[in-house]
Amino acid sequence: MMLKVSRRKDGTVAVSLNLYEALVLKSLPERIRRLLTDPDFSDRTVLRLFPRAYRDPAKDREYRRLLGEDLLRRKLAGVEAFEKSLRRMRVKQLRAEITVRAEDYDLWLGFVNDMRLVLGTELEIEEDDWSDDAFDASHPRAEDLALLHYLSWLEEELLQASGFPLPRITPPESPRDSGSGKGEGPADKST
């Protein structure tokens, strides 16, 4: 059965998925938490989560000094919100249902996106790596690559339940864009 995300009338979002997928999601908070505990700012992946704000190094240092803590706290809040919802998931046979509280939606979505950033940075994803046709199951990091694709799909589904309209992408301009003209679904292009 497919992953299904829907917004309920009370504003909560229901994420319905296979138990196995839910258990994979359950293992993710630890991956990010490890990066965020005593973050190593020489690590490329950490840097992707804490990008610079100013081109000028001195100004940027000052910016990080003032606002770095807030960003770290926000990322950790996302980890916590995600973790909590996974702990509370309802399981029936081999299906799981996760409830995302309305007030947690941004944090939850942010966590999924942070996980994508981490994976994408570790895998050194380039712009042209997104075609589903190109997926190579014998890739040495096929599991993480597949996880990244899965999280992209989850994120697209979450966005459809955001309450905000999604972009309608015009027909493809280049061969590279073909197949993603509708702007929805797991094969949607990254920006």
Binding site: D70, I125, F164, L166, G183, D188, K189, S190, T191
Partner: protein
């Protein structure tokens, strides 16, 4: 020096999405009241077009049309100026964009 985008949106004074975080001092806006700072979002190969469009709507209160236009500019041109505001507000927006996982910087608008 990159030129500011002539069609970039200037955030009108009345729009203030979300609760403002505690900022440092107010003096920046007093020192150079006519100096605007550009908030720039940079392209990256990981963030989804739909996600970026969502963030622009949620954070700035932009319409789907404007949010899509800016997102496509990021995607096609590598970057886009998404707001031009006074410095403190620009820093706030950049910090919020970072929280959403976007790559964003601020720079003084050319005089």
């Amino acid at each position: 020096m990159e030129e500011p985008n002539g069609t970039g949106p200037v955030l009108s004074g009345g729009v203030s999405p979300g609760t403002r975080e505690k900022t440092t001092t107010e003096t920046d806006s007093l020192v150079s009241p006519d100096r605007l700072w550009n908030v720039i979002v940079w392209n990256d190969p990981i963030n989804l077009m739909s996600y970026v469009t969502f963030v622009f709507q949620k954070l700035f209160g932009y319409s789907i049309e404007l949010a899509t236009k800016l997102m496509l500019q990021v995607h096609n041109e590598g970057r886009s100026i998404v707001a031009s505001v006074e410095r403190e507000k620009a820093e706030y927006y950049v910090s919020r964009l970072h929280q959403y996982g976007l790559q964003a910087t601020l720079e003084k608008q050319d005089a």
